[in-house]
Symmetry: C2
Subunit: 582 residues, 2 copies
């Protein structure tokens, strides 16, 4: 079989204006950016506001191996399968971060015959939205340090007299807004900024700081959760970036930088339209990770797609304990649109990995042995799939299991797994999906199952409502969702909880930041564990995004590069074509 990039290059693509017109957009509602990308205006939603929304299908997965189980392949493949069946369909995916592309994971455009194309345009820069988020984020960081510098250097009173501004008296030890870059750069996790030559303050006042990856920026979450530009602007203004010496929260509005941040992010509000290899219109918008952020495609992209098409296929990052949980508890609380169907991607490889009989580590290759027949491991790992099926059922959303076929898989094991699923008591559909090898032809069965699952009205219910106390919302996710025996907060987290409650942030959702490699907070525990604890190490307030992060276990908000990073194989050939991207 050809490599992803070769399949992509040998497929003839339509001009993006044709794709836009076919999807029902007026010429005034999209702006081509080169041949293969277009920004899409939100005017389309207003124009079509009286139309009935199409069905929103969220693709999720079992607990994945570090390399993923092909969720984007299935998302793109399914959309192509629905098109083959003559349905009107759009896909919505997140913009890939460049960190993983240069680090371990490679591109995030799907793969094989189920890709968004051209994959190099999707994977690198796209239309610049992540860069604009990064720029707006770091503008606020520069504004904080500049304010500290001028207030301390001039003295509070002199500062007020000279500038006519109120001194904010920022507590240099209580700045909670870090900086971001869109790279895997472990050396930036903990830094000291404002260092000077001895006895000088020309570079500011030294303090401990750190960088997160841009996908973990609150602004990325805000972009994904905003309804429109006005909502974006007002959410940005609610961000708490620091506390004063008196312990009062200081917002971007207090710094008078919220407007400039919104200006910098103005163009990001429009999703980018591309196409799959089989011409399905695909919206790419925002890029929050699902381990350290809420991990779902944007509300705006979904709202455009559901107005324009009968089926919208979108994905929530990692397993159903991660992105799908957040789709239901965070994203759905910020919009009227609820999931109509969940597709759970399972693979033989991934289920065997969940048996605990194989030793898989991030950054290490998958052992070949996992692709051989091993019904014991498959059966042990099947517990994990059952867990995810019942997890989806907790939200009242009908589920379809997509068994994503890898080239090495045997018909025998695939059919065995399928028969187990069909024999479950739980009401759940199943199909073998061959999007990677066959494109839409390979996902027609899956598409039919999804159509059937969508025929009934979903009976959607989240695990909590926003009016519950924060601790009860954490329990709802960890105990009600993950099935943990109990949740405990570290001393630091407990203090933070009290602070947030004191300042009236009780009404926010909760966003669990944990490893995606286990249902628990320990990535080495596979399968469907019970009787485990969730320890919340630290809380972080995201008043603009509308949730409180709960950091569990060793989850890092800044990845590192491995010893042989993916960037080593990337280059340009003599004709200027990109080589080595996968």
């Amino acid at each position: 079989m050809l490599s992803d990039i070769d399949i992509c290059r040998t497929t003839s693509l339509s001009p993006i204006s044709e794709i836009a017109q076919q999807s029902g957009l007026l010429d005034s509602e999209f702006h081509p950016q080169g041949f293969h990308k277009a920004k899409v205006s939100l005017n389309a939603v207003n124009r079509l506001k009286d139309n009935i929304d199409g069905k929103l299908v969220v693709v999720t997965a079992i607990t994945p191996t570090p390399l993923g189980e092909g969720k984007t392949v299935t998302t793109i493949g399914l959309s192509q399968g629905l098109k083959k069946l003559g349905q009107s369909v759009m896909a919505c995916i997140r913009q890939p971060s460049m960190g993983p592309i240069f680090g371990v994971k490679g591109g995030a455009a799907g793969g094989g015959y189920s890709q968004v194309a051209p994959m190099e345009e999707l994977n690198l820069h796209l239309t610049g939205d992540i860069h604009a988020v990064t720029a707006a984020h770091n503008l606020a960081a520069a504004a904080i340090d500049a304010r500290i510098y001028h207030e301390q250097r001039q003295g509070y009173e002199a500062f007020e007299t000279r500038t006519g501004l109120k001194a904010l008296k920022i507590d240099i030890k209580n700045v909670v807004w870090k900086r971001v870059v869109d790279h895997n750069d472990r050396a930036l996790r903990m830094v000291t900024v404002g260092r000077n030559e001895v006895n000088k303050t020309i570079n500011g006042y030294e303090r401990e700081d750190g960088f997160d990856i841009s996908a973990a920026s609150e602004l990325m979450a805000i972009l994904a959760l905003s309804k429109d530009l006005k909502d974006l602007r007002s959410r940005i203004g609610r961000i708490v970036v620091a506390y004063s010496l008196d312990g009062e929260p200081i917002t971007t509005e207090d710094l008078q930088v919220a407007g400039a941040m919104a200006v910098s992010m103005k163009e990001t509000i429009e999703p980018t339209l591309m196409q799959t290899l089989e011409g399905v219109p695909t919206l790419i918008h925002a890029g929050p990770f699902a381990n350290i952020a809420h991990g779902n495609s944007s509300i705006i992209a979904d709202s455009i797609a559901t107005k324009l098409s009968r089926y919208t296929i979108t994905e929530g990052g990692f397993g159903s304990d991660m992105g799908f949980e957040k789709a239901c508890n965070i994203k759905a609380s910020a919009t009227d649109k609820k999931p109509d169907c969940a597709v759970i991607v399972a693979t033989l490889r991934g289920l065997k990995a969940n048996s605990g009989l194989y030793d898989l580590k991030p950054g290490m290759p998958i052992p070949d042995s996992i692709y051989g027949n091993d019904s014991n491991a498959l059966q042990a790992g099947f517990e994990n799939l059952k867990w995810h099926i019942s997890n989806v059922a907790k939200y009242g959303v009908p589920a379809v299991v997509a068994i994503n076929r890898f080239p090495q898989d045997s018909d025998e094991e695939l059919n065995l797994l399928k028969s187990w699923i069909e024999a479950l008591e739980q009401d759940c559909r199943v199909a073998i999906s061959e999007g990677f090898a066959k494109g839409g032809e390979g996902t027609k069965e899956l598409a039919q199952q999804v159509i059937a699952a969508c025929e009934n009205e979903a009976n959607f219910k989240p695990l909590y409502t926003l009016d519950q106390p924060i601790e009860s919302k954490l329990m709802a996710v960890c105990e009600g969702g993950y099935g943990a025996a109990r949740v405990t907060l570290s001393y630091q987290a407990q203090k933070q909880l009290e602070l947030y409650e004191k300042h009236g942030f009780n009404h926010l959702a909760v966003c669990l930041a944990k490893t995606p490699l286990s249902i628990t907070t320990d990535g080495s525990i596979k399968g469907a564990p019970t009787d485990f604890d969730v320890v919340i190490r630290e809380l972080r307030l995201c008043a603009g995004a509308g949730f409180i992060y709960a950091l569990c276990g060793n989850v890092m908000t800044m990845p590192g590069l491995p010893d042989k990073p993916a960037f080593m194989s990337l280059d340009l050939d003599d004709e200027g074509n990109i080589i080595g991207l996968s």
Copy 2:
């Protein structure tokens, strides 16, 4: 008179495809990015390679006030004047950094009726080139720290065995590649990266580092000096990022990251086409500052424009001691194309400021008194203009003084200044330029003088040739150019010079990084000083760009934000339009 942004919004612009076609580009040679921007392919240069090049006019200036003397206004105005006279003309300018836009200076699109439009698209993100430069730069930084981390953590031998790569043994105290952001962020000038909790190394190995503004990145200089994508790729591979424990230079090629950096910068190779308010096609490309970098529009943009048009108007940053010097000594040594004419922008305000009789400081408003009649100050400051006229003459390039009129200026003083210039022995043309208030109508006289000046062949000669020793090249610029009495190198600079000579970097050009507010390296010394010293504090090798930076005086490679930054007035109005940008 209307504000810049209101003038811009009330002017009707042509679709960029019409502008591209009118400028002589084939449809296959440009890719629209929205309505008002297009990326331009280098294929146009190949197609037209047998055409005679048009004239290259470099706009420079007297020693400016901190607010600038209207060089971009004059560049855009002159191009519009030439169009009014029926000439075929294009303008080439640099992409504005967002640092100054959010900091002090505001936008960099020109002003009044001589603007590149839409100014908000030019000033914010444009087509993402600066972001791509930033991303490629910081990828190399992450690669360095990741390599240090893995080699030190595993041990050199174990690293080699495990990865099959050669251990680079990077000297943690001799990493010369900093990180960059496109912000004015003084707290990032000196940082410690790789900090850890006590006795851990999980975040890497602690070392002192710093951030420059992206405009000071060697990659920005490389982009501006490259002839094509192949040249860009090979220049990137020559960058020296660190030294080994044995003192050997380590390049991006050694890190195997040069290819990925080129991939990240692939799209930046194409200049962005926009238009002036009067429809002159304008190429925007690369953005090196002229104080801390070489400060000129790109070789690629110039080569496209000179193939397509009879006149190409470009600018070199700040006064003729800064950008113009670098246009002649750095840029011209990397291309066949030499300046045919220099336009020296002078203002009554700027000349009076050069009298030393007014106290102007960066970040402070210009006192109103400077706009009143004051022929003493004007006469004293005139010495500065005479200096710049003779400076341009050193390069054998014909000069035209453009007296850029401000609304407050009196006819009396303008005509007085004009008469002084006409009375000079030095062969020099002059015109009053009213591009700001009147657009091309206000620059017709200037355009006629430029046409006349271009009629004779320039007798171009740089101040040095690349085969001279580095120290002799530094003397050529400082003594031969600035007129300094002598150049001295600090101990650190002397050691660096020896190191570069040892490793065979003698053949590189030199790039003086100094204040633009004086011909000397002390911004408070105005006028046309003589008998001053230049002390070179530090050298920095840019083997990929092809020059060695010489840092003089207090020049900072990372600006800071003032106490009332420009970002405070920026916001979106209820319709989502940007307000407060100027």
